[in-house]
């Protein structure tokens, strides 16, 4: 679970055995059309092991956590807190206190953006965004790591700046020195673009950001499900990722932060479970992570997500990454052969991961996706919550195929054949 490169290539995944764990993959969309699910970047499917873990918990140990003295409450609390530790370990975090659960990754990023904008002057100036400060993001961000910072800038009078995208679908770091300065309070970036598949040089950028004293926030939604990620080793200060993109349940996201950061941040949501003492006049708050978990949390989802971590670790994240690299290469090479199809993303030789977006000249992605769907090939169409990225490349949208551990090479071929059929279908009307 470190970033160190294993000398030997991992053994390939046994995809047909893996598929046996995912009941949904056997379903037919209609009498003749099997499901070819290529939208795991939007949400991944869940193996029986994850579903069973939730059912086992709910049929044996379910109770409200962290309150009540009865034995069932203790069992539920144990399951919940063990899940926290398990999920932390999956991303290299040894201290479960650094893991707070949110309803999704979007909420985790919003918690950071709101907490950093809280005007309480008793907090260190380094962790308080105010007028005159700058927030740096990138042009490739998902709206979830863009709009909260835009809004933080609006609330505080800070200025939002961004690292532009280059022609080769990577970040254009030419002017980094003028973008990342002593004025930069927060630098928020994605580990891996949900559209382009580009993997950013996070460790290098985080170290540059720390030289100017900026706090580094990582959107790890698209990296944690697909490669071995050690968040502390990347050198970032905080990160967010979501359960449902990594074979886990919806309704759970993860906010990770360094001890000193979380200890200083104020709560954003308040209420039960996050307090220390309450009088009619004032309240003091619990230590992290409870401070960021107001109300009854998502308990069975945490148990399910821990089971997803077990599942992925049993496969081995290096093997998962190698599997998806192979699929990506096959998809990029196959799609690039087709007339009018242009892959919107970096070359397969560069560091790049399992999301392949493409444009078909003269055809809107909705029309492309509709014809692919008629063949059972389920892809995402549109701007994929990254509208500025698409504008940057003069595109209204793209068609995106994204992969997971259960994706087969036959499914990649179904996509490529399907695109051939899309081209033929629309040619009839020319």
């Amino acid at each position: 679970m470190t970033l160190s490169q294993a000398p030997a290539a991992p053994a390939p995944l046994d995809v047909s055995a893996i598929r046996g764990d995912f009941p949904i993959l056997d379903r037919m969309l209609d009498a003749e059309t099997p499901l070819v699910y290529l939208d795991s970047g939007a949400t991944s499917q869940r193996p029986r092991q994850v579903l069973d873990a939730e059912i086992d918990f709910l049929t044996r140990d379910n109770a409200a956590v962290k309150r009540g003295a009865h034995r069932l409450a203790e069992a539920a609390t144990d399951a919940f807190e063990s899940a926290r530790a398990r999920i932390g370990a999956f991303v290299g975090v040894a201290r479960p206190e650094q893991i707070a659960f949110t309803k999704n990754a979007t909420e985790a990023l919003n918690v950071l953006a709101y907490a950093l904008g809280d005007p309480d002057s008793s907090r260190s100036d380094q962790l308080r965004v105010s007028e005159g400060d700058e927030i740096l993001i990138t042009e490739m961000e998902h709206h979830a790591n863009l709009v909260p910072w835009q809004e933080l800038a609006r609330r505080t009078g800070a200025t939002l700046r961004w690292i532009p995208l280059a022609e080769d679908y990577t970040l254009d770091l030419t002017d980094l020195d003028s973008l990342l300065t002593e004025r930069t309070k927060v630098f928020a970036l994605t580990h891996q673009s949900n559209v382009l598949g580009t993997v950013n040089p996070v460790a290098e950028l985080a170290s540059r950001a720390h030289e100017v004293g900026a706090l580094v926030v990582l959107d790890a939604c698209q990296s944690v499900p697909h490669m071995s990620v050690d968040l502390p080793a990347l050198g970032v200060d905080a990160a967010a990722f979501s359960g449902h993109k990594m074979l886990g349940p919806t309704g759970i996201g993860v906010l990770w932060g360094r001890d000193d950061l979380l200890a200083q941040l104020p709560p954003v949501m308040t209420g039960g479970s996050m307090i220390e003492t309450v009088t009619m006049e004032r309240t003091t708050f619990a230590e992290p992570p409870a401070r960021f978990e107001a109300g009854t949390p998502m308990i069975s989802q945490a148990v399910g997500l821990a089971a997803a971590c077990d599942y992925l670790d049993a496969l081995g994240m290096d093997a998962v990454a190698a599997h998806e690299r192979g699929l990506t290469r096959r998809a990029v090479e196959g799609l690039s052969q087709l007339p009018g199809v242009r892959v919107i993303g970096p070359e397969v030789t560069t560091e790049r991961a399992g999301a392949v977006s493409f444009d078909l000249a003269g055809r809107h992605p909705h029309d492309v996706g509709q014809v692919l769907d008629s063949r059972g090939v389920e892809v995402r169409v549109g701007h994929h919550c990254a509208w500025p990225l698409h504008r940057r490349y003069g595109l209204a949208g793209t068609t995106r195929a994204s992969f997971s551990v259960y994706t087969t090479t036959a499914e990649i071929d179904a996509l490529i054949d399907g695109m051939g059929a899309v081209i033929d279908f629309f040619a009839r009307f020319e």
Binding site: H364, H366, D367, G382, A396
Partner: protein, 154 residues
């Protein structure tokens, strides 16, 4: 799955050679509508004639980006509505709206909605209904704005 009910020849004809496309003067209202889930956009201008009691749609001009369904819909709509009074147009828009929300259970009447019957295949694909209706919603907003600009309250 049969795509022919969705992608009819009429849809492609309008997609390829959209009628009344482009932005023209004069106009009393210009609106910009987007479909936030897919990023489709239309800028639509409306020019009214006639008088406060019987406004006439003299011109609808537009610039639309989007899928075949949404572009065809803008083309068909402008051709249907131009030259008619706004009260003549009302039942047209209402009928199309009802057909599009009927999930394929209600057939469109060609006497009322003309070429727009070619769009009704989208009613069976709930995520495509908004593609068809974007330009119609833009027209309705533009109508309210244009009446306001002319002092012709509805």
């Amino acid at each position: 799955m049969d795509l022919s009910s969705l992608y009819t020849d009429i849809v492609f004809e309008h997609d390829k050679r959209p009628l009344h496309a482009g932005l023209r003067e004069p106009f009393e209202a210009e609106v910009h509508h987007v479909n936030p889930t897919c990023g489709d956009e239309i800028t639509l201008r409306l020019h009214l004639g006639g008088d406060a009691d019987a406004p006439v749609v003299e011109d609808i001009s537009y610039d639309a980006t989007g899928c075949a369904m949404s572009r065809a819909s803008a083309s068909i709509m402008s051709d249907l509505l131009i030259g008619h009074t706004t009260s003549e147009n009302e039942p047209v828009a209402e009928h199309l709206d009802r057909v599009m929300h009927a999930r394929g259970e209600e057939q469109g009447d060609e006497e009322i909605i003309g070429d727009a019957v070619a769009l009704q295949g989208a009613a069976k694909f709930p995520n495509r209904v908004k593609c068809v209706l974007m330009s119609w919603k833009a027209y309705q907003s533009a109508l309210i704005e244009a009446r306001g600009a002319l002092g012709w309250s509805a």
